[in-house]
Amino acid sequence: MIPLQPVDMMRILPEIILSVFAVLIMVLEPFVATAQKKLLGWMALLGVLAAGGATARLSLYPWPGMGPAFGGAVSADEFGFYFIYLFLLVAALVILGSMDYLQRDHAQHGEFYALVLMGTVGMCFMAASTDLIMIFLGLEISSIATYILAGYRRADRLSNEASLKYFLLGSFATAFLLYGIAFVYGLTGTTNLLGASAQLSEPSQWTTFAQVALILMFVGLAFKLSTAPFQIWTPDVYQGAPAPVTAFLSVGPKAAAFAVLLRVFLGSFSSASALTFWILWVSAALTMCVGNLAALWQANVKRLLAYSSIAHAGYVLVGVTAGGSRGISGVMYYLVAYALMNVGAFLLIAHLAGAGERLVQIDDYKGLASTRPAVAACLTVFFLSLAGFPTTAGFLGKFYIFRAAIHSHLIGLTILALLNSVVSVYYYFKIIVAMYMDEGKTETAEAVLPWPVRAALVVSILGIFWLGLAPNGFMGLSTLATMPLLK
C-alpha cells in the first residue's frame, strides 16, 4: 500500500474538482426549484472552469510538476493535459448548449450536468492513465455516464433504443478490452504500461499470445472509436440520443479512445508496430469508406452526421497509422478541430430541431438561408470545415495528417482519404443546398437562439477560424504534447 502523498492528489486535481462538482450538483438537485434548475448548469460550468484553472496551474507551475502519481497509475504529463483541456472545452460547450435545450424539452434535471461532469472525469482519466486497469476504470466511468445520457429523453422511443443499444454493445466491447488487459497481465505480470512495455520492448517478444492481447484491446477501443467494422451502433445511438448529448458522444469518448490508442499502441507498445500498422491501415481505409459512402444516402441530419463522424474517425486513424511526432501531433490537432466543428454543428441542430426534436430531416432545412441567414451561415461554416475547405480548422487538420501520412510513405492511403473527403463534400453540401437553394418551408424552430447557445457557437466558430488561419500556437502545443509518448 502506497501512502497517500499531497503530490499525488495535486496531480489529479482537475479530476477531483470535476467529481466534487458532480457530487455537489447531485446533492443540491432536490433543493433547487424546477424553474431554477438552470443554476445547476451554471454550477457545472463553474466546475469545468475550475478544473481548467487547475489544469493550467498544473501545466504552468513547477510544483508539483509533471510526473507519475499513485505509483504510476496516472501520469501528469503534457499529453494528458492537452486532452484534458480538450475534454473540458467539449464539456463547457455542451453544457452551454444544453441548458435551454433541456428547458424546452421539459427534461431539466440536475443529473444531466452531473453525468456530463462524470463522463468528463472518466475521459480525463483515460487520457492521463498509465496503467491498463486505470484506463479501463476511466473508460467505464465515462461509458456509464454516457449510457444514461443517451437515453435522457425518457419518453422518446428512439432515445431509449439508443441508450440500450449503446449499453449492450458497449459492455460487450469493454469486455474485449478487459480480456486483452488480462492477457497482458498474464504475459508480463503487471498492468502498468511502463512495466509491461519494458517486457515487450523487442519485436521478437510479440508472440501469438501477445498479438492476440493487442488485437483484443484494439477491438475494445475500436468500439468507442466507432471504426469499421465496429461502427454498427453509431448511427442509431447518435440519432436517438438528444442532440447535445450526441455532440458530447461524438467527440468526447472518441477523443478519449484516441488518447488511449496513442498512448498504448504508439507509445508503450510501439515495438509491435509491424502488427499495429496493418490493423490501423485496414481500419482507417475501411472506416473512411464505410462512413462516407453510407452518409451519402441519409435524409436525417443527425444520422448523416453520425456517419460523417465515423468517416472523421477514419481520417484521424490515417494520422495514427502514420505515427511519429508528425502523425501524433496531427491527430491531436485534428481532434481539437473536429471537436469545435462537430459540437458546434450538433448544438445548432439541437436548437433548430424544435421541441421534441421533430425537425431533423434535411427537408426541414429548406429555405433556412432566407428565414434565418445568420444561423444558416454558421451551419455552413461548420459543414465547410467538416468537409475540409481551406481557411477552416478542418482543412489544416487534414493537411497535417496527410503530411504525416505522406512522410511515412502512405501515399495510397492519403489519396484514398482525399478522395473520401471529396465524397463527403457531396453530403455536406446536400444540407447547404437545402438551406440556400431550395424554396423554404415556413415552419422553423424558435426565432431567437438563447444566448448561452450563441456563446458556444461564437467560441466554436472563432476557434475554427483561429485554428484554420493562425495554427502556429496550437501546432506548437500539440507537438509539445507528443513528447511524453516519444521519449
Binding site: S370, P390, F402, I406, I411, L418, V433
Partner: protein
C-alpha cells in the same frame, strides 16, 4: 507610395473581400447601395491592377512586387505573393472582368442581391490570390476557397438545373485538387519547402526527383489543371456549369476560372516537371487538338446559344493548351495572349447572350431570326464580338491563334493543320449562328418589339469592344511584358532537354513580330 507598391498584391487580393465585408453590414433592402459598393470596390481594384500592370517592368526577369512573410511554422508555409508577366496579365483580366460582371448583374439579379455581390467579391479575392500566390499551400488555399462562392453563384442564381451543375463543378474540381494536394505534400517531402522559387531551385540544382516520381507528380498536378481548363475527356462539367450559371457567373467562369488551369500548367507543370512535360507533350497536344475540333463540331449543332458559346470555350482553350505544350516561345506567348483575349471575347459573348435572355427568357436559336432589324445596336456589337471570337485579323482573337498555329507548325505540321481547321470551324459555327439569329425575316412576332441596348448595356459592350479592338491592333504592350516569363519557362524546359535530339531549333525569343 512605396508602402503601397510593396503591398500592392495584398491590396489587390483583399480589397474585394473588404468590399464584401462592407456589404455584409448593409441592410438587406438597400439593394442600390449594395450594387454601388460592389461596383466601387471592384472598380477600385481594377484601377489598382491597371496601375500594377503599367508599373510592371518588362525588362526585369523573375517575380515582381514580391511580398513574403511567414504564415505557418511547421511545416513552413509562407504568405508569398509575386507576379511575372503571366500572372500580372491574369490579375489584370480578373480586375477587368469583375466590375463588368457587377454591371451585367445590375438589373438581372433581383433576388438576394446582398448575398450575390458578397459572393462575387469574395470570388474575386480567391481568383486574385490564385494568380498572385508563390507558395504551393497558399495557392492551394485560394484555389479551393474560390470554389465556394462560385458554387453559390451557380447554385442560387442559376437556371433550372443549377444545383446539379454547381455540384458537378465542385466535385470535378475537387477530385483534381485532391490529387494536387497529394503532389504538393510529396514535393514538400522531397524539397523541404512549399515556396515555389525554392522548390524550383531545389529541383534544378539536385536530381532529387526520379523520373518515375516526376511522372506521377506531373500527372497529379496536370489532371487538376486539365479538369479546370477543361481538356477533352474532362470537359463534361463545363457545358452544365456554363448553361446553368447566371450571366456574371458564366463571364467569370469562362473569363477567369478556366484560365486557372492553363495558368497552373505554365506556372507549375512545365517548370517543375520539365522532363515529364516533354514526355507527355505529344499526348496532350493530341488531346488539345481533339478538344479544338470536338468543341467546334459540338458547338455547331447546339440549339442553345449559351451552350454554343460554352463549347466554343472548349475549342478555344484547346488552342491555349496546344500553344503551351508545343514548347515554342511564340506559341507560348500566343497561348497566354489567347488566355486573356478569350476572357474578354467570351465574356462579351456571354454578356450578349445574357442580355438576349433577359429580354426573351429563351436562348434557343430557333426562337430568333431577323434581329438585325429590330435591335441594330445590339446586333452590331454581337457581330464584332463574334468576329473577334473566330479570330478575324485586327481583332484580339487573331493574335493568339496566329502565334499558336505558327509555333505548332515548327513542332509538327499536322498540329498546325488541325488547329487551322479549328479556326475554320469556329468561323462556321459562329457565322452560321449569327446568320440564323440576326439575318432573314423576323419569324417570331415577339422579336419585333424587343428594346435595343440601354445606356448601361452600351457602356459594358463599348468597353469590351474597345479592348477587343485595341488588343487586336496593338498587342505589343502585352507581349512585351510576358517575354521574360516565357523565356524563363523555355530555358527551364531546354536545360532538361539537352539530351533530347528530336528538338526543332528554337527561334529568337519574343522576336519576329
Amino acid at each position: 507610395m512605396s508602402w503601397y507598391s510593396a503591398h500592392i498584391l495584398t491590396i489587390v487580393t483583399f480589397l474585394p473581400l473588404l468590399g464584401a465585408v462592407v456589404i455584409v453590414f448593409l441592410g438587406r433592402e438597400r439593394t442600390s447601395s449594395i450594387r454601388w459598393v460592389a461596383l466601387l470596390f471592384s472598380l477600385l481594384t481594377f484601377l489598382i491592377t491597371v496601375w500594377l500592370y503599367s508599373r510592371f517592368d518588362p525588362q526585369r526577369g523573375g517575380m515582381q512586387f514580391e511580398e513574403m512573410r511567414p504564415w505557418m511554422g511547421l511545416p513552413p508555409v509562407n504568405y508569398h505573393l509575386g507576379v511575372d508577366g503571366l500572372s500580372a496579365l491574369m490579375i489584370l483580366l480578373t480586375g477587368f472582368l469583375t466590375p463588368l460582371s457587377v454591371l451585367v448583374s445590375w438589373k438581372s439579379i433581383t433576388l438576394r442581391t446582398k448575398e450575390f455581390f458578397i459572393f462575387l467579391l469574395a470570388l474575386e479575392t480567391g481568383m486574385m490570390g490564385v494568380f498572385a500566390s508563390l507558395d504551393l499551400v497558399l495557392f492551394f488555399v485560394f484555389w479551393e476557397v474560390m470554389l465556394i462562392p462560385m458554387y453559390f453563384l451557380i447554385g442560387i442564381w442559376g437556371h433550372e438545373r443549377r444545383v446539379y451543375a454547381a455540384m458537378k463543378f465542385v466535385l470535378f474540381t475537387m477530385v483534381g485538387s485532391a490529387l494536387m494536394l497529394t503532389g504538393i505534400i510529396y514535393l514538400y517531402n522531397i524539397t523541404g519547402t512549399f515556396d515555389l522559387p525554392r522548390v524550383l531551385e531545389h529541383l534544378v540544382t539536385s536530381s532529387a526527383l526520379s523520373p518515375q516520381a516526376e511522372r506521377w507528380l506531373f500527372l497529379a498536378f496536370f489532371i487538376a489543371f486539365a479538369i479546370k481548363v477543361p481538356i477533352f475527356p474532362f470537359h463534361t462539367w463545363l457545358p452544365d456549369a456554363h448553361v446553368e450559371a447566371p450571366t456574371a457567373g458564366s463571364v467569370i467562369l469562362a473569363g477567369v476560372l478556366l484560365k486557372m488551369g492553363t495558368y497552373g500548367m505554365l506556372r507549375f507543370c512545365l517548370p517543375l516537371f520539365p522532363d515529364a512535360s516533354r514526355e507527355f507533350a505529344p499526348v496532350i497536344c493530341v488531346l488539345a487538338i481533339v478538344g479544338i475540333i470536338y468543341g467546334a463540331l459540338v458547338a455547331m449543332v447546339q440549339p442553345d446559344l449559351k451552350k454554343l458559346v460554352a463549347y466554343s470555350s472548349v475549342a478555344h482553350l484547346g488552342f491555349c493548351v496546344l500553344g503551351i505544350f508545343v514548347f515554342r516561345p511564340e506559341a507560348m506567348e500566343g497561348a497566354i495572349y489567347q488566355m486573356f483575349s478569350h476572357g474578354v471575347s467570351t465574356g462579351a459573348l456571354f454578356t450578349l447572350v445574357g442580355m438576349l435572355y433577359e429580354r426573351r427568357h429563351t436562348r434557343l436559336i430557333s426562337e430568333f431570326g431577323g434581329l438585325a432589324t429590330s435591335v441594330p445596336v445590339y446586333s452590331t456589337f454581337f457581330l464584332i464580338v463574334a468576329l473577334s471570337s473566330l479570330g478575324l485579323p485586327l481583332l484580339n482573337g487573331f493574335v493568339g491563334e496566329f502565334l499558336i498555329i505558327v509555333g505548332s507548325y515548327y513542332r509538327h505540321a499536322a498540329y498546325a493543320a488541325f488547329a487551322a481547321a479549328g479556326v475554320v470551324l469556329a468561323a462556321v459555327y459562329l457565322l452560321w449562328m449569327y446568320q440564323r439569329v440576326f439575318y432573314g425575316e423576323i419569324t417570331n412576332e415577339k422579336n419585333r418589339i424587343l428594346p435595343d441596348c440601354d445606356l448601361r448595356e452600351k457602356l459594358i459592350l463599348t468597353i469590351m469592344v474597345v479592348v477587343i479592338m485595341a488588343m487586336g491592333v496593338y498587342p505589343q504592350p502585352f507581349l512585351r511584358r510576358m517575354d521574360r516569363g516565357v523565356t524563363s519557362i523555355m530555358l527551364r524546359l531546354e536545360r532538361h532537354s539537352l539530351l533530347m535530339t528530336d528538338r526543332a531549333p528554337v527561334g529568337r525569343v519574343g522576336g519576329g513580330r
